[in-house]
């Protein structure tokens, strides 16, 4: 019997929601890491019981935690007495050590980016926004951080090294923070090409490597933003989220900031076309793809000025044509007096035969549709504001 495990990061801890394949009756575990801002949790595709978590705090900074038993217990990698006793001498307490690589040897001595007043400002690590475990190795994981950079751990999160050529590829000095900071928030692997990785940064744009991270290029051609003085700059876009379907990795979907909206690229990001179609607004944060239908995508449009559902009606929009033609999905969702938001990392899909769609809100609800979006139910209603949602499909 299949099961699902939903990993929910909130502003005051993490919660784990589990159910069988029917996804009707749920068990709620948590809070884990109570009181910490849980930006993201994600399980390894290789070993689903291996889960990585990013916990942050204005007081205590960044902590990386790891579970090897499906979220029942957690450790900070490299800090247990057993690990510290090993003769090899594991890195001690360095699982939260994210230091920008400014060495000339790695080709990225870049140390500044554009600041709000137009001057150059030093890169300063603040937190890990997103964790993306490798598709092939449970000990390898990538971290997208603020100020924007990409880090990788090859030892299960005990130590981290920057893939510095992303910051150093040439456009870095033009990157600038939006009001929410300058974070690398999306990491997407091409499952058919282990050397290809997409990343997205606010407010810089989309970038792609085709050689495993040695070199990168900006892939923002065709995007538009009324917030930029140039019509078609290389970088400066406040991309909110990108997503692919594993069987069609060259087709990339994007939710861009208002003035842009939903975009699709059919050539791995080299060129983008706007596919807002009949959506009620062009603003939103998450975008995701049905597990079994590569052209079926989901978005949650928000009022661009208020960042709440238009008319107080919470509607997920589905397109089965890869954009342009959208239908609102409302059954089971509040259709009056709803003024929450859905953040960029707070939507996920499972891979059961009837694909389940999940999203969490800033009001603390986590919704599930076990039938591809036709019907929705709230799994929980009163969690702290939800920052991230991931789902694991378990045998």
């Amino acid at each position: 019997m299949s099961r699902v495990r939903v990993l929910v990061g909130t502003k005051k801890g993490a919660f784990i929601l589990t159910a069988d394949g029917k996804r009707q009756k749920w068990e709620v575990s948590g809070p884990h890491f109570g009181g910490w801002e849980m930006y993201h949790l994600k399980g390894s595709p290789v070993d689903p019981n291996r889960i990585y978590a990013s916990q942050t705090s204005g007081w205590f900074g960044q902590v990386i935690s790891r579970s090897d038993d499906g979220g029942k217990t957690w450790t900070t990698p490299g800090s247990s007495p057993e690990e510290l006793k090993t003769p090899e001498g594991w890195p001690k307490g360095e699982s939260n050590k994210f230091v920008y690589d400014t060495s000339a040897e790695t080709g990225a001595p870049l140390t500044t980016h554009q600041w709000y007043d137009g001057t150059q400002h030093p890169w300063e690590f603040k937190r890990v926004w997103h964790l993306e475990p490798s598709l092939n190795d449970q000990d390898t994981i990538y971290a997208g951080v603020e100020d924007a950079a990409l880090f990788r751990s090859s030892d299960g999160g005990k130590s981290w090294q920057e893939l510095a050529s992303l910051r150093g590829h040439g456009t870095g000095p033009k990157w600038t923070p939006g009001a929410g900071g300058m974070g690398l928030h999306t990491i997407v692997f091409d499952p058919t090409n282990p050397k290809r990785i997409y990343v997205a940064i606010s407010a810089a744009g989309n970038f792609r490597t085709d050689d495993g991270g040695k070199t990168w290029k900006a892939i923002n051609k065709g995007l538009k933003s009324p917030y930029l003085p140039e019509m078609t700059p290389d970088v400066g876009f406040c991309v909110h989220r990108i997503a692919i379907h594993p069987t069609r990795p060259d087709v990339v979907y994007m939710q861009l900031h208002q003035g842009g909206g939903i975009y699709r690229s059919d050539n791995a990001g080299d060129e983008w076309q706007e596919v807002n179609g009949n959506l009620p607004t062009d603003f939103g944060f998450p975008i995701d793809v049905h597990a079994h239908e590569p052209t079926t995508i989901y978005a949650v449009p928000m009022d661009p000025m208020l960042r709440v559902p238009p008319e107080g009606k919470l509607r997920v929009y589905r397109s089965t044509a890869g954009g342009n033609e959208w239908e609102p999905l409302t059954r089971g969702l509040p259709q009056e007096n709803c003024f929450i938001n859905v953040l960029r990392d707070a939507m996920a899909v499972d891979t059961l035969d009837d694909c389940g769609i999940y999203f969490g809100t800033t009001g603390g609800q986590v919704y599930c549709s076990p039938d591809g979006g036709d019907n929705w139910q709230a799994i929980v209603r009163d969690l702290p504001g939800v920052l991230s949602v991931e789902v694991q499909s378990l045998k």
Binding site: W59, F60, T76, G93, E94, N96
Partner: protein, 98 residues
């Protein structure tokens, strides 16, 4: 023996309850106490001081004997009452709401 009191969330992170007792070799200073604390509980590295610069995190304060030592020289000797264990060395989180 030096007694150290750390905030609730760091006790949870370190999986401990109550005060911490540390035996310090050599001069008892803020630096040597924090070094010993991090050596025993490596998961606290980076949560009190920056990994690289070793500067105190902005929203933590360091007190002892009703004195704010937050901005004092980390290599200055701590008061005798702290060295003897009569008074604790306090690591305090800044107040905040929400």
């Amino acid at each position: 023996m030096v007694r150290v009191v750390i905030p609730f969330h760091l006790r949870t992170l370190a999986k401990i309850t109550g005060d911490i007792e540390l035996d310090i070799e050599g001069p008892v200073t803020q630096r040597s106490v924090l070094d010993a604390l991090e050596a025993r509980y490596p998961m606290l590295c980076g949560t009190i001081r920056d990994h690289v610069t070793k500067k105190r995190r902005a929203f933590l304060r360091l007190y002892a004997c009703e004195q704010d030592l937050s901005n004092e020289d980390p290599d200055s000797p701590l008061p005798d009452a702290v060295t003897s264990g009569a008074e604790p060395y306090l690591i305090i989180g800044a107040i905040a709401g929400g």
